[in-house]
């Protein structure tokens, strides 16, 4: 049986040749993402701003959005955000936290459900969520802290396992991935809620997964080819791991794409964010992480202890060229 090879043998793509162009594109995308978030803002779900959210399932087709909106507005809870789920007959109706503070989110939720049921007696309210202002404030804070902590903790781990240049490069790649994901949510105005924070944390984990495989090969090659020029070495390492990068990315993207298209619409945003993140993460490990190593002047000496025992350390490293000793 002939086996499929996604990536031909012995590729020799000069990835690093495009590093300045790629870096310019990446920086521009980051600026664009930040601008998008600043201008359009994120469409925060009730998790982060408080309020009421009701999922309504209609018998047959969902009514016209404008008609639905006017009926929901008539309930008197302010302007509603209405989101339709793909092809289904379900919509999500969200209203902002009522004036007058946190105690009323739950009461407003009752009013919203009662109003919808009165306007559409046939419709079913499948899910009801209300979050008070105090709770949403806490969720926003812990969400932001956990994102920052995850990025720092993972970069720290890489610093410990590799060298500081690698940690910085990883942190920058992560920053790139997370910012672009934020930009995507600002652009599409998909609802940004707790699930999305979890998705971003997952992206952070998996994007690093990729970066580490490349880093691991760079470290190995740095010890193996001590005379090789750094750019060629990074190119070699990226090419050697390219087949694996493409294989794994294909497998994960396949699984996630199936989840996006066949999975429950309740977690559409969550699945879509992860799918996007895998794309961005794969790109960033090739084009963000490696070039930064060039600028931070990583070389064969980066892995030799900078103590008086440098010579002994060098011997040890060459002897164990499998990298078991770092």
């Amino acid at each position: 049986m002939r086996l499929l090879k996604l990536v031909p043998d012995d590729t020799n793509i000069d990835f690093l040749r495009w590093r300045n162009v790629a870096m310019a594109i990446s920086l521009l995308s980051i600026i664009a993402a930040v601008a998008l978030v600043a201008v359009r803002g994120l469409n925060f779900g009730i998790d982060f701003v408080g309020g009421q959210s009701v999922r309504v399932e209609f018998v047959g087709a969902a009514p016209n959005i404008d008609e639905l909106r006017s009926k929901v507005d008539a309930i008197g809870l302010g302007e509603a955000t209405i989101q339709q789920f793909g092809n289904s007959n379900a919509v999500n109706i969200r209203t902002a936290l009522p004036e007058g503070g946190e105690k009323t989110a739950e009461e407003a939720g009752r009013k919203l459900v009662a109003g919808i049921t009165a306007a559409y007696p046939q419709a079913k309210t499948g899910a009801v969520e209300t979050v008070s202002g105090k709770v949403s404030g806490e969720l926003l804070r812990t969400g932001a802290i956990s994102l920052a902590l995850a990025m720092l903790a993972i970069s720290l781990y890489i610093w410990i396992r590799f060298e500081w240049q690698f940690g910085v490069a990883a942190l920058f790649a992560l920053f790139h991935d997370v910012t672009l994901t934020f930009g995507f949510f600002a652009l599409t105005q998909l609802q940004f809620d707790l699930n999305i924070v979890a998705a971003i944390l997952t992206i952070i984990g998996y994007s690093l997964n990729d970066t580490i495989v490349v880093f691991d090969r760079i470290r190995e090659n740095l010890k193996k080819y001590r005379k090789m020029e750094i750019i060629s070495l990074l190119n070699l390492s990226t090419n050697e791991t390219l087949s694996r990068t493409i294989m794994t990315a294909t497998s994960i993207i396949m699984a996630l794409a199936i989840l996006v298209f066949f999975g429950p619409d309740v977690i559409f945003g969550f699945s879509a964010a992860m799918l996007l993140g895998i794309f961005i993460g794969t790109y960033s490990s090739i084009y963000m992480a490696a070039p930064i190593l060039v600028w931070l002047k990583v070389g064969p000496d980066s892995f030799i202890p900078r103590t008086s025992a440098a010579v002994a350390g060098g011997e040890r490293v060459t002897r164990n060229d499998d990298g078991a000793v770092v």
């Binding site: 049986m1 086996l3 979050v131 691991d216 497998s251 396949m254 999975g263 699945s271």
Partner: protein, 541 residues
């Protein structure tokens, strides 16, 4: 590479077999698993977003907590000063005032100052933390201008009082939720002033929310018939009385009554409360019966006050204020107040389970109907099956025999994840299903790393055995490092996330651990046995 000891093979096979066995109960109906021996009863729980149900976060409203504590202290002080029956034992006090977080009064007779001091000190207690005494009292007692006694709650005393109140609030919430006949509710305290209530499979959470929103402090108090209408209209009640509004649900909403401050009987003297129908009007009412102390008081007061009116006050609002037509001696009464059957039933449950020591408000609610949950499970499982099939085909097409080994490992990985979750009684949530699908896509990464490395080593001209051996060894390091980062991310998710996201983090973490085991150790076993058996001269990878 060929060297794969027998004990290792047996050990690995045993783990895989256990994984298989402990997966099964999660797929059987719950009724069946209950009949199995204890070890096989553990199964994966479904989260509220899949099983349907309500998650409610209750927060205590502590804004008037201090005022209520002072009020209670005043009652205790008055009672202590009255002492045992007999005029000699009374300590005469006066000018009792509450405010600014303190209670103060003067002792009228200088000779009774020591006695007063002793009685007040007896009302305060040492604060304990766990079982340890902290050395602090809950109230600080000081004397001003010789005869004025000032009581102020200490910070430690206040904290302890709140913790106490929250503990009993939790018990009362527990009783109320259970009274609704719900299945396996979870009620836990969270932080200083919150209680989480999770009730699976609830069709209509409205009743539950109404029930938990009630403090249910019931008081029977006499109407002050002597109040001057002009004074009352100006918002001033006579000394010893106060103006209390009618409940919104009552016929006389918007109106008010002038009631004596003194409570004739309170809700803690109840022994039972039931929803019934009034015999004349047919309206739903709540019939209550008092304990013997309450019954005696009720009989005495109603005998003395025939023709006067008393008021039933619930949570500071008047429900009704009937006239006493004749003495009520049986120790039972009927509360009427424009109820529906549901609200009367709710009040009966609330009264039976006791009044909440603090008012609780619902600050977060997440309710999913069982239908939507079932729909999510169906679509999630469908996506999982399609994704698994796609990944299995992909691996065979790309890696041939080594792909099949990876696939067997992947299928065992699925069993191991479910079995581990069942063993820990972990909860599967909707994001958890997504985590499952993601894990399936990512689990083959380890095999990809290994297989790609083997391809590389073969290209470099190594012999088959050597190439396979190096492939496993070299790839393992990257696999380990790469998976650690995922665990770090998952740990943070577990820390900050609410229920569904915790479920996602759990699946992710378990999946990472089991996938490293199956993808590295299990496939290595298969490959080693195959190489030893056939000793191939070329391999297709």
């Amino acid at each position: 590479m060929l060297d794969f000891p027998r004990w290792k093979t047996i050990g690995i096979s045993l783990i895989l077999l256990l994984g298989l066995i402990f997966t099964i109960p999660s797929f059987l109906p719950e009724k069946t698993t209950e009949t199995l021996p204890g070890l096989f009863q553990s199964r994966v729980n479904l989260g509220l977003d899949l099983a349907g149900g309500s998650h409610l976060l209750l927060e205590a409203d502590l804004s008037d907590f201090d005022a209520v504590q002072l009020e209670k202290m005043e009652r205790s002080v008055r009672q202590a000063m009255r002492g045992e029956p007999g005029p000699d034992d009374d300590v005469a006090i006066g000018e009792v005032t509450r405010g600014n977080g303190q209670l103060s009064f003067i002792v009228r007779e200088l000779t009774q100052l020591d006695e007063a001091r002793e009685r007040v000190n007896r009302l305060t207690q040492g604060v304990t933390q766990g079982t340890q005494l902290t050395g602090q009292r809950d109230w600080e007692v000081s004397f001003v201008d010789t005869t004025r006694v000032v009581l102020r709650a200490t910070a430690a005393g206040r904290t302890a009082a709140i913790a106490n109140a929250m503990d009993s609030a939790r018990d009362i919430v527990d009783r109320r939720v259970n009274a609704l006949g719900t299945r396996e509710p979870t009620i836990i305290r969270e932080g200083n002033d919150r209680i989480v209530v999770q009730v699976p499979g609830l069709q209509n959470p409205q009743q539950l929310k109404d029930l938990l929103g009630q403090t249910a402090r019931l008081e029977f108090r006499m109407v002050d018939e002597n109040a001057n209408p002009a004074e009352v209209a100006a918002g001033r009640a006579p000394v010893g009385s106060e103006i209390v509004p009618y409940a919104e649900s009552s016929d006389q909403a918007g109106g008010f009554e002038v009631l004596k401050r003194q409570v004739m009987i309170s809700g803690d003297q109840l022994i039972n409360a039931q929803q019934q129908f009034d015999q004349q009007s047919g309206q739903p009412v709540v019939s209550i019966s008092f304990d013997s102390g309450g019954a005696n008081t009720f009989a005495r007061v109603t005998t003395q006050s025939v023709g006067k009116r008393f008021a039933m006050v619930l949570d500071g609002k008047v429900l009704s204020a009937p006239s006493i037509n004749e003495p009520i001696l049986g120790g039972s009464a009927q509360i009427s107040g424009n109820f529906t059957v549901d609200s009367a039933n709710g009040l009966a449950i609330a009264l039976r389970s006791g009044a909440l020591p603090v008012k609780m408000t619902i600050v977060e609610e997440r309710t999913v109907t069982p239908e939507l949950g079932a729909d999510s499970i169906r679509k999630g499982v469908l996506a999982g099956i399609i994704a698994t099939t796609a990944v299995l085909v992909f691996m065979i097409v790309v890696y041939g025999r080594f792909g099949i080994y990876a696939n067997i490992a992947l299928i065992f990985n699925i069993f191991l994840i479910i079995a581990t979750m069942a063993a820990f009684n972990a909860t599967l949530t909707l994001p958890g299903i997504a985590g499952f699908v993601l894990t399936i896509g990512a689990a083959v990464d380890a095999n990809v790393l290994i297989n790609e490395r083997i391809r590389e080593e073969l290209k470099r001209g190594r012999k088959i055995m050597d190439a396979v051996d190096t492939g496993y060894k070299e790839a393992s390091r990257a696999i380990f490092d790469a998976n650690i980062t995922n665990v770090i991310a998952a740990a943070l998710m577990f820390w900050f996330g609410s229920g569904p996201i915790k479920g996602f983090a759990v699946v992710l973490t378990i999946g990472i651990v089991t996938s490293v085991f199956t993808a590295v150790t299990v496939t290595r076993m298969f490959v080693a046995h195959w190489l030893r058996r056939t000793r191939p001269t070329t391999i297709n990878i």
